[in-house]
């Protein structure tokens, strides 16, 4: 059970990292407020199931849509601002969203929202159930991203990430694709939030604070931005870190901080990013096994 629960937590982080990677890795837009959309999904689902008696399963698509709409708004803002301005604005949005959760009685205020465990055909969903659900969601997201990478959509995002002016010069509506990338990424985060809320059975505003956004971003970057394997690896590594390092609990935040600094200093492409030491070693061991193919997008 313990490992199942830890795995569900990690799975949630995998989904968050993969979804942020669509925005930051593929479309190249700095987004430092991803936890806000995770929270919007969680609260949407929680309010629907507690105040309106909606079925948990039905609330998932609502969370997906709601977070996506809000993410689209951030995308619209991103059209107006660039780079560091956008990065800070996305932090700001994170704070504003958390403040709304905390100050509005509709969202349970500072007492948060307590939820009941949902049922699946009459059976209470257990940790194992959540693990399967999260596993399926990860699978779906990975398939979607694989599809995206091979599609014109993916190529449009790569073009925007590299050079917006150039992208527009061969017919890409940069604004539209930015908004779409934000919408897609945040919607997946919202869907994850719905599962998170019911898995935890309790949410309050600080679950979605800025620091959570930073952890998600760290997972993406540490693992290898712009790849699929990277964010998954990063989420497993950093998601499991608090548990792995329990035996020297007092030092684990230092290890965590040190790891971030060390990686960025010596392997800023992440553990499994393009041309990282590990990937090069893997290529050496299995020549041809990891050949770059056309349409492969790297960060």
């Amino acid at each position: 059970m313990y490992l199942t629960v830890v795995s569900v937590n990690i799975g949630i982080f995998i989904l968050l990292a993969l979804s942020l990677n669509i925005i930051t890795g593929y479309a190249g837009q700095p987004a430092l407020g991803h936890a806000a959309f995770f929270g919007i999904g969680a609260y949407t689902s929680a309010i629907l199931t507690t105040s309106y008696g909606m079925n948990f399963w039905l609330s998932i698509p609502f969370a997906f849509i709601m977070a996506g709409i809000m993410g689209g708004f951030l995308g619209l803002i991103s059209i107006r601002m660039r780079d560091d301005f956008l990065a800070i604005t996305s932090i700001g949005i994170n704070f504003v969203v958390v403040a709304i959760f905390q100050y509005s009685d509709f969202f349970g205020g500072s007492l948060g929202i307590s939820l009941k465990r949902p049922y699946f055909f009459g059976m209470k969903v257990t940790a194992t159930g959540y693990l399967i659900l999260i596993g399926l969601m990860i699978l779906g997201t990975v398939l979607l991203i694989l599809k995206m990478k091979r599609s014109w959509f993916g190529l449009a995002l790569s073009s925007i990430r590299n050079d917006e002016t150039a992208a527009a010069s061969f017919g890409i509506d940069v604004n539209r694709y930015k908004v779409l990338a934000f919408t897609l990424g945040t919607a997946i985060a919202g869907m994850t939030g719905a599962v998170y809320a019911h898995h935890m059975t309790f949410i309050y505003s600080s679950d979605f604070a800025f620091i959570v956004s930073i952890s998600i971003l760290s997972m993406v970057v540490i693992g290898g931005i712009g790849t699929i394997r990277g964010p998954i690896f990063g989420a497993i590594l950093l998601g499991a870190a608090p548990e792995l390092f329990r035996f020297f609990a007092d030092y684990r935040m230092i290890v965590y901080g040190g790891l971030l600094v060390f990686m960025m200093r010596f392997q800023s492409q992440g553990f499994l990013g393009y041309d990282s030491v590990l990937v090069r070693a893997f290529k050496k061991l299995f020549p041809g096994g990891l050949k770059k193919k056309e349409g492969e997008i790297i960060g």
């Binding site: 599609s151 959509f153 010069s169 061969f170 509506d173 779409l180 056309e294």
Partner: protein, 252 residues
């Protein structure tokens, strides 16, 4: 043959600086128009305004009878105007072939639906390889754009422009910084495009090149047209000589 592009009273001001000031231009279908002028004459700004990167302060840009000034860049690209950049803008972290594929997809970027459409169908990749061959980039097809040298990136600019299958190609100093050998290759390519009947606007700092490939030449200075005509006339125009001798000795 008819008029493809007409620029009427076009102005672009940056604060007090008049980068383009009341400019008129025309381009016939299938014609190659050379634009020359000293640094800061407003050549690149003109391209940026025509292609929608910048909005004009005043004036019209008419493409095939329709006003296009102020339209966003991507819409102008959809209407068959392709351009290269003076400072290359490659998609650095994807491969050379994908750079061209991205450009081939000009009419595929339809929003969310494009998520379901494969960008690397056999025929698309074949077409990209064909363009690479034509521009002499085939051997680098799998290299990332950031890994190839500046000279090849200039060719990549042209390859990408070609990939959009344009009616009008606007080349912004395609030969700058290239070796003599490479320059000749680029000239050959432009001549070839000409012979295929493409309409071309060429900014070229190097007068002999411009004279060689252009049907007609427009000379800009301080955002205004100071001379226009066939290459021979331009060569002998005293105003041009003065404008050029003031700052450059390329004319010699």
């Amino acid at each position: 043959m008819g008029e493809l592009l007409r620029v009427e009273g076009l102005s672009k001001h940056f604060g007090g600086l008049k980068a383009i000031n009341g400019l008129d231009l025309t381009l016939e279908e299938g014609e190659t128009l050379g634009i020359i002028g000293p640094n800061g004459a407003g050549k690149t700004t003109l391209f940026n305004v025509i292609c929608g990167v910048l909005k004009p302060t005043a004036g019209k840009v008419v493409l095939d009878g329709e006003e296009i000034q102020g339209l966003p860049s991507y819409k102008i690209a959809h209407r068959g105007v392709a351009r290269t950049f003076q400072i290359s803008k490659p998609l650095k972290d994807i491969s050379i072939v994908d750079n061209v594929v991205a450009s081939l997809g000009i009419h595929e970027y339809t929003g969310i639906r494009s998520l379901l459409r494969n960008s690397h169908k056999r025929e698309t990749v074949d077409k990209a390889l064909e363009i690479l061959e034509r521009t002499g980039l085939l051997e680098f097809k799998d290299k990332l754009a950031r890994e190839v040298s500046l000279g090849y990136l200039r060719r990549l600019e042209i390859a990408r422009a070609l990939a959009t299958n344009p009616r009008l190609i606007m080349l912004d100093e395609p030969c700058a910084g290239l070796s003599n050998f490479a320059i000749n290759e680029v000239i050959d390519l432009v001549m070839q495009l000409k012979s295929e009947g493409k309409s071309i606007v060429l900014i070229e700092h190097n007068l002999p090149i411009s004279m060689k490939v252009s049907d007609r030449i427009t000379v800009l200075n301080y955002g205004q047209k100071i001379a226009e005509g066939i290459p021979e006339d331009i060569r002998n125009n005293p105003q041009v000589i003065e404008a050029y001798l003031g700052e450059d000795d390329d004319i010699a």
